[in-house]
């Protein structure tokens, strides 16, 4: 680095101009390289098929005191037929860390195997780490067929 004391003001401002130009150019160049990479890393939004209602099957296929996982679009929903014959449906995604829950006959609760979270048959989180209740779905019976649909 030569000493800048001997530079005339005109020379100095020329040097400053070049400094800003080159630094700015370098930064712009870096941004133009990094921006596409960052954007590429972010997965594109996929258009999801909007599902409003799903046909599960005939009521006779659902045993009392049991639960089944129903495919609702790309999300699992748990459909429970209680011991008394009531039908209830909830999102099967545990509110804790997103494992898929199941019906525990022996305890009559909805149970998540990953971290031992429990929900009662109204979907309320009653034990273990889950922070929120399960999102409820509507169950409709038309003729003999059972349908699960979103709560409007």
């Amino acid at each position: 680095m030569e000493d800048s004391h001997s530079l005339t003001p005109a020379e100095r401002s020329k040097r400053d101009f070049l400094k800003y130009l080159l630094t700015g150019g370098l930064l712009a160049w870096l941004a133009s390289v990094i921006y596409p990479i960052i954007s590429y890393l972010r997965p594109p939004q996929q258009t999801e098929v909007v599902v409003e209602s799903v046909k599960v099957g005939p009521l006779s296929s659902l045993a009392k005191d049991s639960g089944t996982i129903v495919r609702f679009g790309n999300r699992p929903v748990i459909l429970i037929r209680t011991a008394t014959g009531d039908l209830r449906a909830f999102s099967a995604v545990c509110t804790h860390l997103e494992c898929t829950v199941q019906y525990r006959k022996d305890l009559s609760v909805i149970w998540c195997a990953c971290h031992n979270g429990k929900y009662d048959l109204s979907g309320r989180n009653i034990d273990g780490p889950p922070p929120r209740p399960l999102e409820p779905y509507r169950v409709v019976i038309q003729g003999d067929d059972v349908y699960v649909s979103k709560m409007s």
Binding site: L41, R42, P43, Q46, I69, V70, R71, N74, P76, I78, A92, H96, L97, E98, C99, T100, V101, Q102, C112, A113, C114, H115, N116, N125, G128, P129, P130, P131
Partner: protein, 359 residues
């Protein structure tokens, strides 16, 4: 034969001055003391890494990274490809022994204060490699696309998601979308076979170069004593031959494990099935998994998960940075506190791993 060997040596020596390197190797010694045995674990870890690279490349010849084909391709490897079951089983077993060996290596360095100046960079690169090793384990666990892997990945990628602000973007970056799908498998495959090995090789290069340049660390209490011939062993060939013998033993152990306890493939992942009972992550994540189970869902104003994740993050950061805050060792006096912290950490990991295994 002998003259051919000599000629080849002379030819290379003329061009790259091998003499210097041979002289250097000849002057390298390994200190002999009470903790001598622990010096071997670095080498064993290296050997297991080499096994991983070789078996990994072999698996790559048949593995197909897609949610439609991954499970079937491993079934194919294990049932149709000759010795495919052996290669895959060794890869799985070696991965686990690699983590175990690396952790033993790390704790021995911790207890002997091997991280102290001037070996901070060796410690840091070692810790980075350990974290990468955990990354290897986590990403590799998903590749068979089985039930256990699917839920382990769901939970494992959801955990960074609980961190405020940066959590969600990080989670989506890892998953390649809002959920664990085939996109996640593609990404994990890329991390597992390209990104992590690349990074690991760089850190490993620095780590080994520094070990060669600086020599083996000597425990503090021996540091100022003159090591005579009985207290040191030439690295070349005495220690190296012992190393190789141990590697042979490790290879045999691996073969026995792989043959008599072949690695299970499990059931293919079903995105619309409940998480199976008894699900748990790999054993080296168990202590953290078990801790998360004990933290209540709300602690004061914070989610239990967030608190747990932040605490573990802090603990790992402090652990990694120990050469920079352990001032006592840096000054040359024995630091009992570090021994207690390391002992406590070790006990914690052991107890919680056992709890996680049993409960």
């Amino acid at each position: 034969m002998n003259t051919l060997w000599k000629k080849t040596y002379a030819w290379i020596d003329e061009r790259v001055d091998l003499r210097q390197l041979v002289d250097f190797m000849g002057k390298k010694y390994v200190p002999v003391h009470r903790g001598f045995l622990w010096y071997y674990f670095g080498g064993v870890t290296l050997f297991l890494f080499i096994i991983q690279v070789i078996t990994g490349i072999l698996l790559l010849l048949y593995y197909k990274a897609s949610d439609q084909l991954a499970f079937e391709s491993i079934q194919f490897i294990m049932s149709k490809v000759q010795f495919g079951w052996l290669i895959r089983s060794i890869h799985s077993w070696s991965a686990n022994l690699f983590i175990l060996s690396a952790v033993i290596h790390m704790f021995s360095v911790m207890f002997e204060r091997g991280y102290r100046a001037p070996r901070e960079i060796t410690w840091l690169t070692g810790m980075f490699m350990l974290f990468l090793g955990l990354g290897f384990g986590f990403s590799g666990y998903l590749l068979p696309w089985n039930e256990l892997a699917y839920f382990a990945t769901k939970v494992g990628t959801e955990i960074p998601g609980v961190i405020p602000i940066i959590g969600k973007p990080v989670m989506e970056f890892l998953r390649g979308g809002p959920d664990v799908t085939g996109a996640t498998l593609s990404r994990f495959f890329g991390f597992h076979v390209a990104v992590f090995p690349g990074l690991f090789t760089v850190f490993l290069g620095i780590h080994l170069l520094l070990v060669q340049r600086q020599g083996m660390s000597i425990p503090e209490h021996l540091e100022h004593e003159k090591l005579d011939e009985s207290k040191r062993m030439p690295f070349f060939p005495n220690f190296l031959l012992r190393d190789l013998l141990l590697w042979l033993i490790v290879l045999n152990v691996l073969a026995i494990l792989a043959v008599f306890f072949p690695w299970d493939l499990g059931k293919k992942a079903d995105l619309f099935a409940s998480a199976p009972a008894g699900i748990h992550p790999e054993w080296y994540f168990l202590f953290m998994f078990q801790t998360l189970k004990y933290i209540p869902s709300k602690v004061f104003f914070m989610d239990g998960e967030v608190l747990g994740v932040l605490l573990f993050g802090l603990a790992f950061a402090l652990w990694t940075l120990i050469p920079f805050w352990d001032r006592r060792t840096a000054r040359g006096s024995a630091s009992r506190r570090v021994t207690y912290i390391a002992l406590l950490a070790l006990m914690y990991i052991i107890v919680f791993t056992i709890l996680g295994w049993l409960l």
